[in-house]
């Protein structure tokens, strides 16, 4: 359980009509290992729950009066952060069910890999997992997965050439609910 938090108060940004997303993502990126984020906002930041959920953070939100909210974001498993796969993991996928769909998109012309993954996930049930092999990190796919409420976990295989991504349909939405 995480007990140390870094504080971030985005209420001044919000009151000034600004967009605090950048500041929040930056705070998340620079969190010391094992630390969580204590966020103060002027509303319940529901969209953030799925975005940070897909980065492996659980959340706990409470109203603190005057319409303001305090949200505690905790890294789901502080131990996995020291693992050797850098950067690429978004979610701990160890307790996900076996994939029901497998795609090998390594030989496809871009952006076909993205098209096939999105088309396949549209036909899957919530909670199902898709596994896909790619020849590079799917930079433009990731925001689209987050937008559609899917959770994902990805990284390069030890050969350094194949990128494997697991997508769990609808799991990003659940984190937000």
């Amino acid at each position: 359980m995480t007990d140390s938090f870094v504080d971030l108060d985005v209420r001044p940004i919000l009151r000034a009509g600004g967009e605090p997303f950048q500041a929040i993502m930056q705070a998340i990126a620079t969190l010391p290992p094992g630390h969580g984020l204590r966020l103060l906002a002027t509303f319940k930041p529901v969209p953030l729950f799925s975005v940070l959920g897909s980065k492996g953070f659980s959340h706990e939100a409470k109203e603190i009066g005057g319409g303001d909210w305090e949200v505690l974001f905790r890294p789901a498993s502080a131990t996995t952060e020291s693992g050797s796969t850098p950067a690429a993991s978004a979610t701990d996928a160890s307790n996900w069910p076996e994939p029901v769909q497998h795609l090998d998109n390594r030989e496809l012309d871009p952006p076909e890999p993205m098209v096939r993954i999105l088309a396949t996930t549209e036909a899957m049930k919530d909670g199902d997992v898709l596994a896909a092999l790619l020849c590079r990190e799917p930079i433009f796919l990731l925001p689209e997965l987050a937008k559609r409420g899917h959770a994902w976990h990805g990284g390069f295989e030890p050969d350094g050439k194949t990128y494997k991504i697991l997508v769990r349909v609808g799991a990003g939405k659940k984190a937000a609910a």
């Binding site: 012309d109 098209v115 020849c135 990190e137 689209e144």
Partner: protein, 451 residues
């Protein structure tokens, strides 16, 4: 990490840049500036800066706002800052042009336009650098290709610094002695930092990634890429830092520039080897127009180097520096820029319009947004015109040079028309054009998408 999304103002940068390219081609066709006036004449300075700032730098900035995040797998620090930066750069270029006209005695506004232009441009580039530097700073790892871009960004800072010194001096705002010395002898360093460091080095970094991406070539960490990076950085440091010290201490530039040139040539040789490797190791056999036309740009770079070495060996560098710079700016940088623009505009338009509905409705492929056979003719015409132009400069036929420039203009208009058609989805079959949930893209900027 949440990947990269669309940069809102990239297309606005591209649009202004293309207007500047056509303006420059009109000038050359009309006989404005070199070769009809001297290399250092105000008219030539106007032409050169419309090409290097108006066209090439804006193209590069717009592309970096989109592709540095892709190289780093991080979102851009600020999507919003890109617009004020564009306005500052355009205003700065306008003031700079007025300042050159003032130098020529054509206009006489009661303002130090030259110095104002230098400062506005400095502010614009500083804003671009700040935005991109914050993006780099937030990244956990900086891949090799992005390190080329960082060296390019340092070079644009150096180029702008020289430029500001020149404008303060020539605009009569400063009389600081070292500035006067730099203004007298520093022009080659300004050109090397700009064309070599900022534009060429950044284009090298971006091209490694774009070519690998579009041709399905493996992006392995090659020692030759690292050699190209570090030799290039060494060459630029020798030229810019060493050159500045040489000028300020009263030493000669020639030895410094020869040393930098030798190291830089080796860097380019490694780069050429890497590019050949990318084309050979590609998994995609039938490559698209952008990768085919990029070959012509690489050939222009090679021709530029051959010409440079030959002129040096014959002791005729001063006579042929015009053709060398022309080939670098229009064959290599503009050629590569236009070729990649053709693909980038199609891809960004496709992602903007169809990304949100992929898998939910039938959508066209990226290639359905373009008609390569039609665009290919304009590209071929463009490269033939550039090579003819370079030949007329070498041979010394200024009138035929104007004809070549007019041909470049016609080709550019032809390519631009294709880009506009792509943006308007004009070549997509009507049944597929706008599935439910998709929005018609705007011509000059990207719609921000709901999250």
């Amino acid at each position: 990490m949440i990947g990269a999304s669309l940069s809102r103002w990239t297309l606005s940068y591209f649009a202004v840049a293309l207007l500047a390219l056509m303006a420059a081609e009109v000038m050359m066709a009309a006989g404005y500036g070199y070769p009809h006036t001297g290399l250092r004449a105000p008219e030539t300075l106007i032409l050169v800066h419309v090409v290097t700032i108006g066209w090439l730098s804006l193209l590069m900035c717009g592309a970096l706002f989109q592709f540095l995040p892709v190289l780093l797998a991080r979102p851009l620090y600020s999507d919003r800052l890109a617009l004020p930066a564009l306005i500052l750069l355009v205003a700065g270029l306008a003031a700079l042009i007025l300042g050159f006209l003032q130098l020529a005695g054509r206009v006489d506004p009661d303002l130090p336009c030259l110095a104002l232009g230098g400062l506005l441009l400095g502010a614009g580039f500083a804003l671009v650098l700040w935005n991109l530097a914050r993006t780099v700073a937030a990244a956990q790892t900086v891949p090799l290709q992005a390190q080329f871009v960082i060296a390019g960004l340092l070079s644009v800072a150096a180029t702008a610094a020289f430029g500001i010194v020149f404008t303060l001096m020539l605009g009569g705002v400063s009389s600081y002695e070292p500035f006067a010395v730099l203004t007298g002898a520093g022009l080659p360093l300004h050109i090397i930092a700009g064309l070599g460091g900022w534009l060429t080095f950044t284009a090298m970094g971006v091209s490694y990634r774009l070519l690998a991406m579009f041709m399905l070539a493996p992006e392995t960490d090659r020692w030759s890429t690292r050699a190209a990076l570090w030799l290039g950085v060494a060459a630029l440091s020798i030229a810019v830092v060493g050159g500045t010290l040489a000028i300020l201490t009263g030493g000669g530039l020639t030895a410094v520039l020869l040393a930098a040139g030798g190291v830089g040539l080796t860097a380019l040789a490694f780069y050429g080897g890497d590019i050949l490797h990318l084309y050979r190791a590609r998994k995609r056999r039938n490559i698209e127009l952008n990768s085919r036309m990029a070959v012509l740009a690489f050939a222009s770079l090679a021709a530029c180097i051959v010409l440079c070495v030959a002129a040096l060996a014959l002791g005729q560098l001063t006579e042929h520096v015009d053709a060398i710079v022309f080939l670098a700016a229009f064959g290599w940088l503009t050629g590569l820029g236009l070729a990649q623009l053709y693909k980038i505009v199609a891809f960004l338009t496709w992602l903007e319009c169809y990304g949100p509905v992929l898998g939910k409705a039938p959508t066209p492929r990226v290639q359905d947004l373009v008609v390569e056979a039609r665009a290919g003719k304009w590209f071929v015409l463009y490269f033939i015109a550039v090579w003819a132009g370079a030949a007329t400069l070498v041979a010394g036929y200024p009138l035929i040079f104007r004809l070549s420039a007019a041909m470049m203009l016609v080709a550019t208009v032809g390519i631009l028309a294709q880009l506009v058609r792509t943006r308007r989805l004009a070549d997509v079959k009507a049944a597929l054009r706008l599935p439910q949930g998709a929005q018609q893209p705007r011509l000059l900027y990207a719609l921000s998408r709901q999250t």
